[in-house]
């Protein structure tokens, strides 16, 4: 049983780390601000969620687990709010999203 929980937690930690790296590579290589926001939300939700779940399995039923749950709930509420405010501010400032050319609709960015 202990081994099973350990394996699950290690798998969660590794998957979370890989998702964080994938999100960062997306932030570096996406062509447009709005697509970069989309890539960054991967780090905020899935990467953080998997890593915190892996730590939660290692913590067991202690006060540490309660603190991890607090951090997870805080991230779950705060980070989409911040991302929404950021994208809305950029849109109202006049930053245009990168769209396909009208005369050549097959060239999707």
């Amino acid at each position: 049983m202990k081994l099973l929980v350990d394996l699950l937690s290690w798998a969660s930690l590794v998957i979370g780390g890989l998702l964080c790296i994938v999100g960062a590579v997306g932030m570096l290589r996406m062509p447009d601000f709005y697509t970069r926001v989309h890539a960054a939300s991967l780090v905020d939700t899935l990467g953080a969620g998997f890593i915190l779940f892996g730590l939660l399995l290692q913590a067991g039923f202690t006060l540490v687990a309660v603190k991890l749950l607090f951090i997870a709930v805080l991230l779950l509420f705060a980070s989409p709010t911040g991302t929404h405010a950021l994208a809305r501010a950029a849109y109202e400032r006049g930053l245009k999203p990168l769209l396909a050319e009208p005369e050549n609709p097959s060239s999707k960015p």
Binding site: L13, F33, R36, I51, I71, A78, G82
Partner: protein, 102 residues
């Protein structure tokens, strides 16, 4: 050992996001990168607490998470209004003030 692997992955993420913050063509890219750096620092603090066997570091991670959202919204408001004390659009003064006295 898995904690070390997760910490290493988070450090790689941090390096890539710092490159985006340095490159970023618009100011919103830099704000987004700063927000992600805060999130990754939070996760790194939590993982480091487990790596060194002192999970009390989670208090620091919680404080980082609380400061992160406030910092992002404050920077956005500063770039929107040029001033942190601005009341916003709803409370703007009308052009014709009401006559005093009478």
């Amino acid at each position: 050992m898995m904690f070390a692997a997760a910490a290493l992955a988070l450090l790689v993420t941090l390096a890539l996001v710092v490159v985006r913050a340095a490159l970023g063509p618009t100011v919103f890219d830099r704000v987004q990168a700063a927000n992600t750096i805060g999130t990754v620092a939070l996760l790194l603090l939590a993982v480091l607490g487990f790596l060194t066997g002192r999970p009390e570091f989670l208090d620091l991670a919680l404080t980082y998470g609380l400061l992160n959202i406030i910092g992002t919204v404050a920077v956005l408001k500063f770039f929107r209004y040029g001033d942190l004390g601005d009341p916003g659009e709803e409370l703007e003064v009308t052009e014709s003030p009401p006559k005093a006295g009478s």
